[in-house]
């Protein structure tokens, strides 16, 4: 149990051991442990971030749905409005067309009536002239009494 030169040998061994432990064990292992700590911290941060983003996305999705609903409602309203407009327009067009057709038909009818009247007049005039010719025989000069006959025909 005496202090001997062994003391110095032990001191050297102790120093060397510290150096070795630091080099082959403490250094690498504590580096690995630090890396793991960082990884865990990163993972937790990422999870937190993901949660936050999910919340934001949910909020945004709700907003989008609301907007889409609004837009859809607007489109439907516009469509309805446009439909009634089209119906009104069609009604208006139909009415105008009908009116036009009726007017054209009336005009045609009037024209034909007039034509018929004209034809009848001409015929009446010629019949009257022929009758008168037969009644009066040559007494009446068609040319001399044409004005009178025409006047008569007009009165018919």
């Amino acid at each position: 149990m005496n202090i001997t030169v062994t003391l110095f040998a032990q001191m050297i061994a102790f120093g060397l051991l510290i150096w070795f432990v630091n080099k082959v064990m403490w250094g690498p292992l504590s580096g690995i442990m630090e890396a793991r700590q960082k990884r865990i911290a990163d993972g937790l941060a990422a999870a937190e971030k993901g949660k936050h983003e999910e919340e934001l996305a949910k909020k945004k999705a709700l907003e989008l749905i609301k907007e889409a609903k609004d837009q859809a409602a607007e489109v439907v309203a516009q469509g309805q409005k446009r439909a009634s407009e089209i119906v009104d327009e069609a009604k208006e067009t139909a009415r105008a067309e009908a009116e036009r057709i009726v007017t054209a038909a009336n005009a045609e009818i009037e024209r034909e009536v007039n034509q018929a009247k004209e034809a009848l007049r001409a015929q009446v005039a010629s019949i009257a002239v022929a009758g008168a010719e037969k009644v009066l025989k040559r007494e009446i000069d068609a040319k001399a009494h044409a004005a009178l006959l025409n006047e008569l025909a007009a009165e018919i």
Partner: protein
Amino acid sequence: MTWNIDTIVISVLLGILFVTIGARVAKNATDGVPGGFQNFVESILEFVQTQVKDSFPGHNPLIAPMALTIFVWVWLMNFMDLIPVDLLPVIGSWLGIHYLKVVPTTDLNAPMAMALTVFLLSLYFNLKVKGPVGYLKMFLFHPFGKFAMPANIVMTAIEELAKPLSLGLRLFGNMFAGELVFLLIALLGGAAALGAGMLIWFPLQVVLDMGWLLFHILVITLQAFIFMVLTIVYLGMAHTADH
């Protein structure tokens, strides 16, 4: 010049064992989920790191590996105490080694070597951090102020010298006493080697040995822990500029 070959060889072998296992763990370690043994080693590392963080001010990359080395190496050397006292010396005598001290920490040289190394390191850091003048001032003005300079010098010198002495002797004393108790217990059976006395002494030896063994597991761990913590504290005191 006396070389205590047994102390040197056993402590160096234990150191090699420690470094080899540590290196293997470090080589196969992952920063993912650690396996069983890696987990165990890492928990020791973390334990030492916590001690250093708690009682060492500032940062010095030497302190933590040194604390780990002290803790594990001292523990391994102390652990030799738990091997039955006569087993290794008897095996040694078969191999032609007639004197074998199995527990390096029961040789005063091993604990004192570590304590002296710690003392020299604390001297170095004292001079480095406080400067020669600051270190001298510590001797002059501490603990009684500047009007009791001679007393201060004596007191501080005693205080500084007591640190390595108590550090080394505490470990040596505990381990030597523990080993001595193991020897005494082992002698119980031997004292009544023949005759009916064996019926009493042999079971008593077994029971006492087991009891002291269980108790001694705590002692060797505690002594390794105390050595480590005091080393951290002493070196920490060397690093604080204002005493």
